[in-house]
């Protein structure tokens, strides 16, 4: 009985999986047919098989790997710097009312500017090369971390603070036993967001600042030389990296927050 239920559940999930494949397969087929019968400007539109060929070629050359590595290194350096600064700044805003009063409004105002608008200014102050890119990526990671750390610390409930006061917790104890655990989920959300934004920032920095190896650069180059297979490769890689960073963050989040009691 349970076996048949399990097998029917399995066949249902297979059916759902197969349904999910329908749209991509149709799109792929249409794409291949269009390029095969030259229904569109083939010069521009590479066929799926050409993209695949280019992919294997680039992997064999090892060029792809080094481009990917360069982007990832940039991304992570910026992320680490930005989120470290963000945790510090956000904690200061959350823990000290006076810091919040002093700096909060300025931060809120600066946050309103779409982050990419800073790139031209950054390029004047930090040049066009690697340091400028890392500064920008760090800036992109900084905002969400500050916002979430601040919010997390402020979300500590009044009642809990009063209990801690009744037990005469020291400042350190209050921080370790009360504030940190309460703020942790929000801090992780901030870091998770920062990971996403820093990847977005990496691509943007590679587009807008001086060319250097990287996935964004691969795409820009491909566009300029009208090599769509290169561009598509870049799109796929950008997606894969985004997806991997995302899943790593989700895993880490649920691992570090596993002590949390699920409230129904």
């Amino acid at each position: 009985m349970s076996a048949s239920a399990a097998s029917s559940a399995a066949s249902l999930s297979t059916a759902r999986f197969l349904r999910g494949l329908v749209v991509p397969l149709i799109a792929l087929l249409a794409w291949e047919l269009i390029t095969h019968y030259k229904l569109a400007n083939v010069h521009l539109l590479a066929s799926p098989s050409a993209v695949l060929k280019n992919l294997t070629f680039q992997i064999e050359e090892g060029e792809l790997f080094s481009q990917l590595l360069a982007s990832l290194r940039r991304d992570l350096t910026g992320f680490l710097l930005g989120s470290f600064a963000g945790v510090l700044f956000g904690s200061a805003l959350g823990l000290w009312r006076i810091a919040d009063r002093l700096l909060g409004p300025s931060f809120d105002a600066a946050k309103q500017v779409a982050v990419f608008a800073w790139i031209p200014l950054i390029s004047v102050w930090f040049g066009n090369a690697e340091p400028a890119k890392i500064v920008f990526i760090a800036l992109a990671a900084f905002y969400p971390v500050v916002v979430n750390v601040h919010e997390g610390i402020r979300s500590v409930s009044r009642e809990h603070v009063e209990v801690a006061r009744a037990f005469r917790f020291s400042r350190l104890q209050t921080f370790k036993k009360l504030i940190l655990p309460a703020a942790l989920p929000s801090i992780f959300s901030g870091l998770h967001l920062a990971l996403i934004y820093s990847w977005l920032g990496t691509l943007g920095a590679e587009y807008l600042l001086a060319p250097a190896p990287g996935i964004g650069n691969l795409m820009i180059e491909g566009r300029e030389s009208l090599a769509m297979d290169k561009v598509l490769l870049g799109v796929i890689l950008a997606g894969l990296v985004g997806f991997s960073l995302n899943s790593v963050a989700t895993r880490a989040e649920s691992y570090f927050l596993r002590w949390r009691v699920r409230n129904a």
């Binding site: 799109a27 539109l45 779409a114 608008a117 979430n148 996403i196 587009y207």
Partner: protein, 292 residues
């Protein structure tokens, strides 16, 4: 679904930021009055100090004006841009692009979200493709879109529409799925027809979630507009920034950045106000309760 959950979390987190009460909490409001007077003044202290240091630095030429123009120069440029009408021209162009792109994105996003939310079958067909597409950051599509569409207006519309579509669709889907069970049970007890159930129960209960998506989508739309204009445009606010950078006129760059910030703020606050108006009939919407 992990991706969908995350994006929802992001969207709600963003919206929740604005819902944090800024009013003093009950226990504080009894505090002495002069603190209430002092509070906004404290917030001005840092900008005023920054401005002071900045203008001294500019006057004494600690840094060359090509690196950091005087605040007065930035203000002058801003006024000049307003007077000559250049600012409004570029501003209007940028705003028009966001309006068209955002409207397109919302329309498609809500339609997709509703279709996937109401029918598991549609979700089975579309969700994997949708998730795959939304994994690639908006900027990741930009070079490809530039190749296919060129660098005309359609490029901007498509990129902005895409940027707003993803959060809108995800939140609509989430909202429909998290309509409280007891609402539906009550509707069943009253023997609502399917259309009644949708119109009277499901959609009203979904509106708050859709708005979370809309606000997040608008932020994303504005962000990607600026980026597209930086990269491929000959008009608009983003172009003003690039143009000023090329001429090494940082006063122009800074005044355009200020406008970008103010517009971003106004767009977000404007939509928040619309949201409040539309949701007046609701007693309180618990932002955290809708997600999990």
């Amino acid at each position: 679904m992990a991706q969908v959950d995350l994006a929802y979390k992001i969207a709600t987190a963003d919206a929740a930021l604005d819902s944090i009460p800024t009013e003093p909490r009950a226990s504080e409001s009894r505090a002495i009055d002069y603190r209430n007077l002092l509070r906004p003044a404290l917030g001005w202290l840092v900008p005023v100090l920054t401005l002071a240091v900045w203008s001294v630095a500019a006057r004494r030429e600690w840094v060359p004006p090509q690196i950091l123009p005087a605040p007065g120069a930035v203000w002058q440029t801003l006024l000049e841009q307003v007077r000559s009408g250049d600012l409004f021209l570029n501003f209007g162009i940028s705003l028009g692009r966001v309006a068209v792109g955002f409207a397109l994105g919302c329309l498609i996003g809500v339609a997709l979200g509703v279709a996937m939310g109401l029918s598991r079958r549609v979700e089975d067909y579309l969700a994997p493709t949708f998730n795959a597409i939304s994994q690639v950051p908006v900027l990741g599509w930009l070079p490809l879109a530039m190749m296919v569409l060129g660098i005309g207006e359609s490029l901007k519309f498509v990129i902005i529409a895409h940027a707003s579509l993803v959060p809108v669709a995800i939140n609509t889907l989430k909202g429909i799925r998290s309509v409280p069970r007891n609402y539906i049970e009550v509707a069943e007890a009253f023997q609502f027809k399917k259309s009644q159930l949708l119109r009277r129960v499901v959609f009203p209960a979904t509106v708050p979630a859709i708005f979370v998506g809309l606000r997040y989508g608008l932020t994303q739309a504005w962000l990607s507009l600026v980026t597209v204009e930086l990269l491929a445009s000959s008009e608009g606010l983003g172009f003003m920034i690039v143009w000023g950078r090329q001429l090494f006129q940082l006063d122009l760059v800074l005044s355009a950045i200020i406008v970008v910030g103010v517009v971003g703020l106004l767009l977000d606050r404007g939509l928040a106000r619309v949201e409040k108006r539309l949701l007046r009939w609701r007693p309180v919407w618990d932002m955290t309760g809708a997600g999990s």
